[in-house]
């Protein structure tokens, strides 16, 4: 199920490049504020030191599969990269750059995910350096001394592994989040000692902790965090979230709910300060402003029914309840704070494209 969500999101991004995609959210558009995927990924990473590795592996596996599907769909000859390992450096660089730029950089640029460029290539040992500017994963975050773009590290190595049919790994050598001008990745053969060491160091960061309230204020106040703007295509949000759920989906969804709930509890005072009033109205305003969804609320704090329309995590996608786990957790935390009593999720279901959630007091 989660694999279907991932494959559909990739197909949707390709369709967008080919001008063959219809908008799925007619009212609020198919973009969501960067803070949404960032807050989710960082909260999950902060909650569990295994998440960087899991996210990387899932992103790598799904990008590899989808890159293969995409070049096949586009009709790239099967022998296009034949015997790539023997190619002269200049030709290897120009050919790989041509494909990566025309296909995958286009996809990422169209989705406003970032600006992908191959900057250097060596064939023996294989070493591909990539510059990823305007990175959706970390733009506007400055709290770190090391790279934090695990989703993109996995995705980029997965794409290149698929193209040249080799098992590659990558690690980040420079990151916006640690003060870099771009996020730079080194990609090479995963069996090579240099790559193994680089990857292991990268994927086991010391402590991940970001001040999400500071980051959120930038988005709420429309302070640009990058030249591409603060919005990103919903497909990117769906891909990032789905990849956190790919391994051990049931447990990952439960953890997502818990982590979302904690974030929701922390979110309430920030929203109250920003919107200047209290109560559930803040919630509707916030999610609408950041392009997450529109909501109709019914009932009161004894039974609160939310009819969520054009939800960013499920719009135009396969309807998988697991995909909504972080959001429902966040809403549980938020409604608890905004109603002044601990709430619990009583029911959640999709009705057509709408997500229907019912919260009742936990007691």
């Amino acid at each position: 199920m989660i694999n279907s969500v991932i494959d559909q999101a990739w197909a949707s991004m390709l369709a967008s490049v080919l001008k063959k995609r219809d908008i799925s959210r007619v009212e609020i558009g198919d973009e969501v504020d960067l803070y949404i995927p960032q807050s989710r990924l960082l909260s999950l990473v902060e909650s569990n030191p295994d998440i960087p590795r899991l996210l990387y592996s899932s992103a790598q596996e799904s990008a590899r599969r989808n890159a293969g599907t995409i070049v096949n769909k586009l009709g790239m000859p099967s022998d296009y990269f034949w015997k790539f390992e023997y190619w002269p450096k200049a030709r290897a660089f120009s050919t790989l750059e041509k494909i990566v730029t025309r296909i995958f950089a286009s996809i990422m640029s169209q989705a406003k995910e970032g600006s992908l460029k191959i900057t250097e290539l060596d064939v023996e040992p294989l070493r591909i350096n990539i510059s990823f500017g305007e990175c959706a994963e970390c733009a506007g975050i400055t709290d770190f001394e090391y790279g934090i773009c695990y989703y993109h590290a996995g995705t980029l190595s997965g794409i290149l592994s698929s193209l040249i049919n080799r098992d590659l790994d990558s690690f980040e050598t420079n990151c916006h989040a640690s003060g870099g001008d771009s996020c730079d990745f080194t990609i090479g053969d995963k069996t090579e000692e240099f790559m193994r060491t680089g990857y292991e160091t990268y994927i086991s960061p010391p402590v991940i902790s970001a001040d999400l309230a500071v980051r959120l204020e930038k988005s709420l106040n429309n302070i640009p965090v990058r030249a591409l703007g603060n919005m990103v295509d919903v497909s990117y949000l769906q891909l990032a979230m789905a990849n956190t759920l790919l391994s051990d989906t049931e447990n990952a969804a439960l953890s997502s709910y818990e982590v979302g709930s904690q974030l929701g509890h922390r979110l309430a005072p920030v929203l109250a300060a920003f919107y200047g009033h209290e109560g559930l109205q803040n919630m509707g305003d916030y999610y609408f402003q950041l392009g997450v969804f529109t909501v109709e609320m019914k009932g009161d704090k004894s039974r609160l029914e939310l009819n969520i329309k054009e939800c960013a995590v499920s719009a135009g996608a396969v309807k998988a309840m697991e995909m909504t786990s972080f959001l429902t957790g966040e809403l549980q935390g938020l409604t608890s704070e905004l109603t002044g009593m601990e709430m619990k999720l009583e029911e959640s279901r999709f009705e057509d494209d709408n997500l229907l959630l019912t919260f009742v007091p936990a007691g």
């Binding site: 080919l18 586009l74 025309r102």
Partner: protein
């Protein structure tokens, strides 16, 4: 403990404790096994230096155990000692044939056992050294073979790359892009694969096809780049690109350049004999030339030229069908049409690659990309 020689022992109940006590007193590490089956299981992990088997061992027959030990590459070099009763000549002969190295007579004498084991341990140490040496040699041979293969491939592809760039240079002389050679070489390899030709031929044609028009380097620009119709005299000059190409590529000693020479000379020949430069007919035209001829024409039909729009795929395919048996080898045309879907996808790929990333060129039919 690790430095002690390891003796795997399987004895009948009558000998077991005595033998094990003796071995302990001789400072060996004893690996006891209760039966022949257990001995076979333990030998891989424990890697004993000597195996000591009692003819009266429980479980599997002792000769079956010996036979299975000798089938294993590592265990086969481990000396085997068998304990038999005095005068059991028949079993000793059978055991020698099976591969036993030494015998001890029951009841076992400790001094005799020590002397025989010491001698066998030296043999075992030597065997192990030989095995390590043999493995090292094999690994080294494999490594050097891989290096040689790699070096050979690199030299081949480096030289190929140079020629490939020259071919593109020739294309640049009469087109605004060198992409034609890239496209038609992949069409050629797709046809060769569809014809069931071997990987080596497919690879060679992929690399050789781009050189088909290399002779255009020798055609004067006023003919090659003439915007209007060529005169008969100019056509005559133009046709010389086949023979010039062949001259450039002749006397090569690598397969793909030899193939490239065939292609350069014959890619304008026609199945019915009406082509040039030699007017060859049917299978007198080299196979690679027949394949490249079709790939070249198909790419010309589906590409934009200063004087024409690209033909739609269906129209180009109809032309190939119509000209099968006259211009094209019917077998080549049939193979090409059998991979029509693959060719259609490749055609889209080249179109996609030639578009600007932000283009939404309505003439480019990319709708079939979501067909499956």
């Amino acid at each position: 403990m690790e430095d002690k020689a390891k003796i795997l022992v399987v004895c009948g109940a009558s000998n077991k404790s005595l033998i094990e006590t003796m071995l302990h007193s001789m400072e060996y590490q004893v690996i006891p096994a209760e039966s022949g089956d257990e001995a076979l299981q333990r030998v891989e992990d424990a890697q004993p230096n000597v195996v000591l088997l009692d003819i009266m061992m429980p479980g599997l027959d002792v000769f079956e155990v010996i036979g299975r030990l000798k089938e294993d590459t590592v265990a086969a070099t481990t000396p085997i000692v068998m304990i038999t009763s005095a005068g059991d000549v028949e079993n000793r002969l059978k055991a020698l044939e099976a591969g036993v190295d030494e015998f001890l007579t029951s009841p076992v004498d400790q001094v005799e056992m020590q002397v025989r084991l010491n001698s066998l341990l030296k043999v075992n140490a030597y065997n192990r050294q030989l095995l390590v040496y043999q493995n090292d040699i094999e690994a080294e041979v494999a490594r050097r073979t891989q290096e040689l293969t790699r070096a050979f491939e690199k030299i081949k592809i480096a030289s190929l790359d140079t020629v490939y760039r020259l071919s593109r240079a020739a294309e640049y002389k009469d087109e605004d892009t060198g992409a034609h050679v890239e496209r038609m070489s992949h069409y050629s390899s797709a046809i060769a694969r569809a014809m069931g030709l071997d990987d080596e031929f497919v690879e060679n044609i992929l690399w050789a096809a781009p050189m088909h028009d290399i002779g255009k380097i020798g055609i004067p620009d006023n003919v090659l780049q003439k915007p209007g119709k060529l005169t008969d005299k100019e056509w005559e000059i133009m046709r010389q690109h086949t023979t010039i190409g062949s001259e450039i590529l002749k006397d090569a000693d690598t397969d793909f350049i030899i193939l490239a020479q065939d292609i350069a000379l014959s890619h304008h020949e026609k199945w019915n004999g009406s082509g040039y430069p030699q007017g060859l007919k049917g299978t007198d035209i080299p196979l690679a030339g027949r394949i490249v001829s079709l790939a070249d024409v198909f790419d010309a039909l589906t590409s934009e030229r200063p004087y024409k729009k690209p033909f739609p795929l269906e129209k180009a395919l109809d032309i190939i069908k119509e000209d099968s048996g006259s211009h094209f080898d019917p077998d080549v045309a049939e193979a090409f049409l059998s991979v029509e879907d693959e060719i259609a996808k490749e055609l889209n790929f080249w179109k996609f690659m030639s578009l600007e990333p932000d283009s939404s060129d309505s003439d480019t039919d990319l709708s079939n990309l979501f067909g499956d």
